[in-house]
Symmetry: C2
Subunit: 366 residues, 2 copies
């Protein structure tokens, strides 16, 4: 006997690059699925929310313009929880922000039986206690949490990693290029063929192309990679305390750490090109190229992030564009790892990964 | 409110390399999972089956020795269906054989509400009408079918492909090395560094290492790759009639097609080394290497299997060991594909992939 849930209530928080594309893609899927029926009951941005006391369905395709036109003040987290706990059917909270505050509410959402789907890294790469709280709360009244896009966007990494472990395999090592920005910078600065550009020029070019954060130092400090490595390491079984509790190499020259504006930083970066040139030259002496890599070694319980040299034929060396690559070594896979490679950023693929996670919840929801 | 299914009845057919390891892995998982409880109610090999009229649980860890000691004659498919339709809870049929006959029973299983999990390619790469019958039957009374391991063993290929399409992405092209045997042969015959061995020697070595079928012609005829390409092409939206309805290059020299035994074939293969040497030389003239590749082009609705040349820096060229590599090009991923690479054969990883599919069914079952 099947007892299909008639309806599922969805709350979508965040309408930036990923959030707005997600809503478009959700509209497509909702128009084609029969059961459970998707009822969008809440949509919010940083200072505004749209929702109805009677849980009236918000048309997904036009939700953002409706929010713009008719949105009211943002309710508190507990008001949101209160609202969603009476919504028709089970509730799913989709967090398309990068907010620490919302990440800290996941345990509360999960304890109320709401499932959580998010590309937001903060909940999984912050304190170890938040991680524990989240996964302790998961399962209450059937609540689920999926965060495939917190590492490598829609690339199948977190799902397969969890599944490997669940079937009894052991992760021994994970290594990879976890940042699209770093990938782009090093593929152009130290290509496998030709000599590549000057470091500061590549950083400026990447910024112009929109491949960096507004302030490129937010990429160059290595924290984004450290956060992803934290997530992968924890999934592999290591109790990593925080993304700053293991060695992370920053590519911000010490002398420029105190510089206030991103513009000034970019202007002065060329003064330090010689440092990066030296890394490139050292690698080149052995016929190698330098890359910015994250690494987890389960046996020695160590994680680290920083520059490493690779043979030109190595998959990490021959990466293209701004692709990510993640190599997962396990007991069953042996010497040659499971490798997943492709775009690890971008609104369309990230939104698709989030939507894929929502579909997993819809399939499992009772 | 959650209504957990108390029990799920599982029938496991086949106890070869994959089947026996699958049972070991299932025993591990069953000992750690609470709900739904796994009840092994049927286990069978080609000429023998063990099952009890009262659906008594068969101890998973010792099921094969119990089958050996106490198994009776194999029931017919309809007797099996009859038996399983009264089993406690929902039923899952795990087909670890490569049997055409069992594959043809999938529609019947699915129509009775049994879910099907299998690495057997036959059901998905045979006639188009069987494919249609299977997916028409899926969903009856909540039945599901998962066959991740029919392409690339546990590598995440079929799941992600289906999910991409479900979220509204469009597959434009798929290319890859789909056979571990072919991968091993060409990585050694035409390596990116060095000159490689003689073709017939590499085939003999691969057979000695157990990398080929008992008769290597079953690999060299290209049909195994054609079957996997058929599956991928159908998932991508092409109504491929059969694995012989598109161009498939056989590496069996015409003169040896009539040879009766695999031994004689291997003895005489060296007479034809010049043919393969020529393919290698032609590729080498452009600085390339030759590989045996499957390819699907959705726009032109074409599939093909055969020799192609690749730049040495291409991921297909730099593959190692007997790894598979599958590159999926989609509208959202753009110019650079989603690439999955790793072991695409072997009992441990294949069993793990089958078990992963069983876990998906257990999560979704109501």
């Amino acid at each position: 006997m099947i007892h299909p849930t008639k309806e599922v209530s969805i709350a979508v928080i965040g309408a930036g690059g990923v959030g707005s594309v997600f809503l478009q893609q959700l509209a497509y899927v909702a128009s084609r699925r029969r059961s459970p029926e998707i009822r969008l009951v809440y949509v919010a941005i940083i200072d505004k929310a749209l929702y109805h006391a009677d849980y009236q369905h918000i048309e997904i395709a036009t939700a953002l313009s409706a929010l713009e036109a008719k949105g009211g003040p943002l309710p508190s987290i507990s008001q949101t929880v209160e609202y969603l706990s009476r919504a028709p059917g089970k509730a799913i909270v989709v967090d398309n922000t990068s907010s620490q505050q919302i990440a800290e509410a996941y345990p509360q959402f999960l304890r109320h039986g709401f499932s959580v789907v998010t590309p937001n890294k903060k909940g999984f790469s912050g304190s170890w206690s938040l991680w524990q709280e989240i996964f302790d709360a998961e399962g209450t009244d059937g609540s689920m949490i999926y965060h495939e896009c917190s590492v490598g966007a829609a690339l199948p990494i977190i799902g397969p990693l969890k599944r490997l472990i669940e079937t009894g395999d052991e992760i021994t090592r994970v290594e990879g290029v976890f940042s699209g920005t770093m990938s782009y910078l090093f593929n152009n600065f130290a290509p496998t063929q030709g000599s590549g550009g000057k470091w500061s020029d590549e950083v400026k070019k990447a910024k112009e192309l929109g491949y960096t954060e507004p302030d490129p130092r937010d990429d160059l400090n290595g924290l984004d990679v450290a956060r992803k490595v934290t997530i992968v390491a924890r999934l592999a079984g290591l109790a990593i305390e925080s993304p700053t509790s293991f060695p992370v190499q920053s590519l911000i020259p010490k002398e420029l750490e105190g510089v206030t504006s991103g513009e000034e930083f970019l202007q002065r970066l060329s003064e330090f090109d010689a440092q990066m040139e030296e890394h490139k030259a050292t690698a080149a002496k052995d016929g190698k190229v330098v890359r910015f890599v994250g690494r987890v070694d389960v046996a020695s319980k160590q994680a680290k992030v920083g520059l490493e040299s690779f043979e030109k034929s190595h998959p990490i060396a021959s990466l293209k564009g701004s692709d990510n690559i993640i190599s997962i070594y396990t007991k069953r896979y042996g010497d040659l790892p499971l490798i997943v490679q492709g775009a690890g950023a971008g609104a369309a693929v990230t939104a698709m990964g989030v939507l894929g996670d929502v579909l997993k919840v819809l399939e499992r929801i009772r």
